[in-house]
């Protein structure tokens, strides 16, 4: 019922970077203005992109589905406000490659007119299937950063789950969106947890929260007390502040002492983990019928004069929110979406906010200076001390640097969670994570190359087998014919020599009229076919018509020759 008597475990490694959270917690959450245009990528989640359900020029209402997630692992997307669909085209999306992908543009009308919507009545008495369907309809995907479709995660059979973990650690520096969400919407979060409990039927539920958020902790505890009687099994568990305690695997380790098996998922050890923002979105969808159309985003960094959290409509260009927070564009040196440890830089401020954008850092040059020149690795092992996955970052670095992918794999590079703790502590300023990302990408590439080369080999072998078979069949036919001819020859030799029919002594006598008849027939069909083809070619004005005509003439010649020889044989 409370947070005492709770045994916490520790994870290996971890770091204590500068928090930089207080800047953005001074002001309450503010609703950002509706921008003139919203840019909505159809893939804001892991899995297949949604299929656009609107076309340019369509009028849309707030909450209307504009892209449908039709695959099993996919998500719906809704219009965050009312307006008219502009273009559907490739735009720069929040991705570290800086590449473009399909986006739906909505020109907002400022009226913010809702489509008909309502939540489930008595949702705590609904069955799991209808709750999951409600979550799926609302297009909710993990809001902590990964963006895995929530309804898929919620569909894990309840019999497999004994623990529900709500990730409220928010361990990355700068980000305070979950903190403020918990301070202001603690009650909704508790209700959201109740919905998840209704679906997954866990024996216990832990809200893992770092001890640097005392106000959020208090708010959650008050909400628990006010909202539920003493029989609930939701525990607010305060954990020590250490990066990356909010990593799913690390939080599970802290709270339960268990490790997610390699290449497995938390459900393998009876655990489901949900981000606290996701839980809030679940509550809104199920209780109020509000799909995921906005999120809390921290706007912070030295280049922002009034850093704070905003409730932002999905699709809002970063530049719009930045200007509301009084950013000084000429001071911005690096624009980061996400935190300073795992977030990615975006190349343009026109990039839109998506379902996973928990933070925008507009960093000045002093705040995050250009990376220092990479020095030689002195094998100091500070990275090994910092690694939360008990890897040997330094060995991985040497292997990645020399493109020794085989050894990198043998040293479990795939278990690296790219948290950046190793790069953070490295005294030689080596961009270790980039080396690992490079090696992981190469490994992935090599695997897919290998697969396609095996596929190519298989197809090549099958083709060869087919060609061999065809040749064999042809050979067999030829042989059979030759044998038949030889037999006839033998029969003829045995029979008394016939009188020659004409002057030609060699070929004519052996010709059977039956064979000749068949030849004529075959020639006739060939001519017919050639005619057909020629007609088609002429109809379509193809260049080949001439060649075909030539071919037809040849076939006709052959036909007449065959007819002639048949008549000769008959006579």
């Amino acid at each position: 019922m409370n947070m005492h008597h709770f045994k916490l475990y520790d994870f290996d490694g971890g770091i204590h970077p500068e928090q930089n959270k207080s800047q953005s917690t001074q002001l309450p959450i503010t609703t950002a203005k509706i921008p003139q245009r919203l840019i909505l990528p159809i893939a804001q989640h892991i899995g297949a992109p949604g299929n656009p359900a609107v076309k340019p020029g369509d009028k849309v209402l707030k909450g209307q589905i504009i892209a449908k997630g039709e695959d099993f692992v996919s998500c719906n997307l809704h219009a965050p406000t009312s307006g008219i669909v502009g273009v559907i085209e490739d735009r720069e999306v929040p991705h570290q490659s800086g590449m473009s992908a399909t986006c739906i543009e909505i020109i907002t009308d400022g009226k913010d007119t809702w489509i008909d919507h309502q939540g489930l009545d008595n949702y705590l008495e609904s069955d799991a299937a209808s709750l999951i369907d409600c979550i799926a309809q609302a297009g909710i995907s993990g809001m902590g950063g990964a963006g895995f479709p929530t309804h898929v995660k919620a569909s894990i059979p309840a019999s497999k789950i004994n623990t529900l973990i709500i990730n409220a650690a928010e361990c990355e520096p700068y980000i305070t969106s979950d903190d403020l969400l918990m301070r202001e919407y603690a009650m909704d979060i508790i209700k959201g947890i109740e919905i998840l409990q209704r679906i997954l039927l866990p024996e216990q539920c832990y809200i893992g929260i770092e001890d640097n958020k005392p106000q959020a902790i208090e708010a959650l505890q008050i909400a628990l007390k006010e909202n539920l009687d003493d029989t609930h099994n939701i525990h607010v568990v305060v954990i020590p502040t250490k990066y990356p305690s909010g990593g799913e695997k690390q939080l599970i380790q802290i709270l339960t002492g268990k490790e997610v098996p390699v290449a497995g998922i938390p459900a393998d050890i009876g655990i489901v983990c949900q981000n606290v923002g996701t839980v809030h979105a679940i509550y809104q969808a199920v209780a109020l019928g509000i799909p995921l159309i906005s999120r809390i985003t921290t706007i912070t960094g030295d280049a922002v004069s009034s850093p704070q959290n905003y409730q932002v409509l999905l699709g809002t260009p970063v530049t719009d929110v930045l200007s509301q927070a009084n950013a000084q564009p000429n001071k911005v040196k690096r624009l980061i979406m996400g935190g300073p440890m795992m977030g990615f830089t975006i190349a343009s401020a026109d990039t839109p906010i998506t379902k996973t954008s928990n933070c925008i850092i507009a960093a000045s040059d002093q705040e995050l200076p250009d990376p220092a020149m990479e020095q030689a690795c002195i094998r100091c092992g500070m990275c090994t001390q910092a690694c939360p996955a008990q890897l040997l970052p330094q060995q991985l670095y040497w292997f990645a640097k020399s493109s020794n992918l085989e050894q990198a794999q043998a040293h479990n590079i795939s278990d690296c969670i790219e948290c950046g703790a190793c790069s953070y502590v490295c005294p030689s300023n080596i961009p270790l994570v980039q080396y690992y990302r490079f090696a992981k990408g190469e490994i992935k590439q090599a695997k897919s190359d290998k697969k396609s080369s095996e596929q190519a080999k298989l197809r090549f072998d099958i083709r060869n087998a087919r060609l061999d078979r065809e040749t064999a069949e042809k050979d067999a036919k030829r042989k059979a014919r030759a044998e038949a001819a030889a037999k006839k020859q033998a029969a003829k030799k045995a029979a008394p020599p016939a009188t020659p029919a004409s002057g030609d002594a060699t070929a004519e006598p052996s010709v059977d009229t039956e064979v000749l008849k068949q030849k004529v027939l075959a020639a006739q069909t060939r001519v017919d076919k050639a005619r057909e083809r020629l007609a088609m070619a002429q109809e379509q004005n193809l260049e080949t018509a001439d060649a075909l005509e030539l071919g037809l003439n040849k076939q006709i010649d052959k036909l007449t020759a065959a007819q002639k020889s048949l008549e000769e044989a008959k006579s």
Partner: protein, 352 residues
Amino acid sequence: MNLLNISSPHATRSGNTGNVMLTVLLALIPGIITLSYFFGPGHLIQICIASATAIGCEALVLHLRKKPIGFYLKDYSALLTAVLLAISLPPYAPYWVTMVATLFAIVIAKHLYGGLGQNPFNPAMVGFALVLVSFPVEMTTSWSAPSALLENGIGVAQALEIIFSSRETIDAITMATPLDLYKNQVEIATASEIYQNPLFNGPNQEASIALGWQWVNVAFLLGGAFLLWKKIFTWHVPVSLLLSLSLLSIFIGWDSDSYVPISLHLFAGATMLGAFFIATDPVTASTTPLGKLIYGAGIGVLIYIIRTWGSYPDAVAFAVLLMNFAAPLIDQYSQPRTYGHKKAVRGLAKKD
């Protein structure tokens, strides 16, 4: 806005390799002061000779390798090698011994293997071992007696003269090291007889371990503790080294009438310098937690074996170099168990 596009993490701890090296140099200062206090200015002069040689050699090789000299000199690794080498060498060794050792350490042991981070052997110890086997006379007759045992102590002028020009007066100030003395005499004398020598308890026979040496070791121990606190290295190597050396001294050498006692093993030689400053050199040590324990323990065992049954007076250099050989292998067989895995990987990946 001209925005920077780089891979995460964006936040990094400030500092660089140079800071690490400077911190280690800082931690050496108490030891150097104590050395100079008890053995005269010899070590300070050697530090100057070695540093100048090291920086000169480093700059020259960097120039030949077409690397930016300023950038690489700022990592202070050459300076650290020079200082470690200088305080390992006998304080009144001729200047050319120091120069040869430093040159060999920087040019051969470090840069020919690819420079900082690539050398398999501790450069300072390679330089030390080279001059130890090449110039045994200069190396074994240049340890001064503690100043307290000399009538006038050792002046700077005298020190400079001995190191740079004439070695005529050296006999007046040199003496065997306590470890050496004990080892040589224990075959013919009992412990109490050996302890009569003022090298151990001083001219006035106050109870102590080894005159001067004990405080030098304490100073290096303090410096090492400072580095541990600064998290420059982890506890594994020094602790396992000292533990294995102590255990062997207790179980084999419990009889101080036949063997060198544990007190001298720990506080009369280069043990603390070796445990905290030489064996912990990250480039050449093992890097996994378990590997560091094995590596440190190996050095401790080798130190004891060479000191007890070998013919060299101290053994840190050879012990460290021998374990340097083993470090890559140890690393491969001491990998930690990765998160989520049932067991740790052992060895390199097999070729199929």
